[in-house]
Symmetry: C2
Subunit: 263 residues, 2 copies
C-alpha cells in the first residue's frame, strides 16, 4: 500500500498525480493539503491565517472557529471534491473523507499552545490537536470494495468536534494503522534540500540518523515535518520518498526515486 500525500502548494500538478495513480496497480490512499487555497480564501474573506510560534520553537496555524470554517471550505470542500472529480474522470473510484466522517481520524485536542507575548508566557486555546487513531474498519470497508479514499482535515477530537491537525502527523498514524510500506510526499521542491534556496542541493538519500541530525538544523514548518518523519521511521521503518509534485509525472518519478529517499 502506498500513501500519497499531495502537498497544498499552488504549483503542485494534481492532474499529473491523479493520472499516475490511475496507472499503478498497488492499493493507494490519498491525503492532501490545501494551504495555498486556504490562505487565498481566508484573505478574500478578510480572515487572514494566524500563525503562532510556541515557546519550544514550533510554529502552527491558530485555529479558531472561523479558521475551521475556512478550512472546511478549502480542504474538505473545494480541494477534496476537485481531486475526487479528477479521480472519477480518470476511472479511479474515489471517495473523499475528512477525519470527521465516520471518525476516520480521531485525535486529542491540544491543551493549549504556550506562547511568549510581551515578555510573558500565555496559553492559547484553539481547535487543533494531534491524531491518535484511525477508523481502520471504515478504510478497509472502502478499500475492500475498490474505493480509493481521499483524506483531508479536519479530524475529530475526543468529543467529535472538528479540529485542525498537521497532515504529516496524520500520515504517521495512518501509516501505522494500515501498515503501508511506502509514503510519497509530493511537495513544491525536488525533495529535501541541503540549502532551501538552492534546488541543486537535493539530498538523494537520507538515513534515520541523518534525519535526526538535520532536524536540528531546520526551522518552522520544515522542523515539524522532520519531527513527524523521524517518529514515522522510528516506529515502522517504512520507505518515505519526498519528491517534486510540480513535475509532469510526479508520482511515477517519485516511485523511481527521483527525490529524497529516506529509509
Amino acid at each position: 500500500m502506498i500513501i500519497v500525500k499531495i502537498g497544498g502548494g499552488s504549483t503542485i500538478n494534481i492532474e499529473g498525480v491523479i493520472k499516475d495513480i490511475a496507472e499503478i496497480k498497488e492499493e493507494v490512499i490519498i491525503i492532501h493539503g490545501a494551504n495555498a487555497l486556504r490562505d487565498e480564501l481566508a484573505e478574500k474573506l478578510g480572515r487572514p491565517k494566524k500563525v503562532v510560534t510556541s515557546v519550544s520553537g514550533y510554529s502552527s496555524v491558530f485555529s479558531d472557529e472561523s479558521a475551521i470554517d475556512v478550512m472546511m471550505m478549502a480542504y474538505a470542500g473545494l480541494r477534496n471534491k476537485r481531486i475526487v472529480e479528477l479521480c472519477q474522470r480518470s476511472g479511479i473510484n474515489a471517495v473523499g473523507l475528512t477525519g470527521l466522517d465516520g471518525r476516520l481520524v480521531q485525535g486529542k485536542r491540544n491543551a493549549g499552545i504556550r506562547v511568549r507575548e510581551g515578555g510573558k508566557t500565555r496559553i492559547l486555546h484553539d481547535f487543533s490537536g494531534k491524531p491518535q487513531s484511525i477508523n481502520t474498519g471504515l478504510l478497509k470497508l472502502l478499500l475492500g470494495n475498490d474505493y480509493v479514499p481521499v483524506i483531508s482535515v479536519p479530524i475529530a477530537d475526543e468529543n467529535g468536534v472538528a479540529i485542525n491537525s498537521e497532515n504529516d502527523d496524520i500520515v504517521g498514524v495512518l501509516q501505522e494503522a494500515m501498515a503501508a510500506d511506502t509514503i510519497v510526499q509530493l511537495i513544491e521542491a525536488p525533495g529535501f534540500l541541503d540549502d532551501p534556496d538552492d534546488e541543486s542541493t537535493l539530498v538523494r538519500e537520507m538515513s534515520g540518523d541523518e534525519l535526526a541530525r538535520r532536524e536540528e538544523q531546520v526551522q518552522g514548518r520544515m522542523k515539524r515535518k522532520m519531527l513527524a518523519l523521524k517518529k514515522l521511521l522510528v516506529k515502522t521503518g517504512c520507505q518515505v520518498i519526498i519528491a517534486d509534485g510540480r513535475r509532469e509525472n510526479p508520482l511515477m518519478d517519485a516511485l523511481n526515486h527521483i527525490g529524497t529517499v529516506i529509509k
Copy 2:
C-alpha cells in the same frame, strides 16, 4: 427508512434536527441544502449567483465553473462537515458524501437551458444536470455498517464531472433506489401554504391530484419542487411530509404530522 432533507435556508434549526435524528430508531439518510450559505459566500467572493429562467418558466441557478467551486465550498465543505460534526457530537456515526464520491449520485448533463434574451431564444450551457441513478452498493455498505450518510451536491455527470442538480430531484431518485417509505422535507415555513405570505394558511393534507392542480398555481422554485414531488408520488406512493425546520424539534414534529402530509 426515512430520507430527511434539510433545507438550505439560514433559519433552519440544524442542531434540533440532528438531536431528533439521534432519538429515532429507523434508518436515516440525510440530504441537505446550503443555498443561504452559498449565496452569502458567493457575494463575499464577488461571484454572485446567476439565476436564469427557461422558456418553459422554470428558474434555475446558472452553474459555471466558478459557481461549482463556490458550491463545493458551501455545500460539500462547510455545511456538510458542520452537519457531520453535529452528528458525531450527538453519537450519530455520520459520513458526509457528495454525489461525486464513489459516483454516489450519477446524473446526465443538461444539453443546455433555453432562455429568451433580447427577444431571441438562446441555449446556455453550464455544469448542471438531472440525477439518474444511485450507487446503492455504497449506500448499503455504509448503512449496513451503521454509518449515517449525509449527502450533498455536486453530483457526477456521465464522465465523472461535477455538476449541480436540484436536491428535490436527487431525493426522488434516492427514494426510488432505496425504497424509503417516508420523506421529510424541512423548510423555512410551516409546510405548504395556500397563501405563501400567510403562515396561517397551512395545507395539512394534500392528495396527489391536488398536488398536480396546485403545481399550476405556483411559480419559480416552488413550481420545480411541486413537479419533483408529483413525480415522486406518481412513481412510488411513499409518504412525504413538508414541515417547519425552524422549530425546536423539527423532525419529531414532522413525524407527528405537524406540517403538510402528502400521500
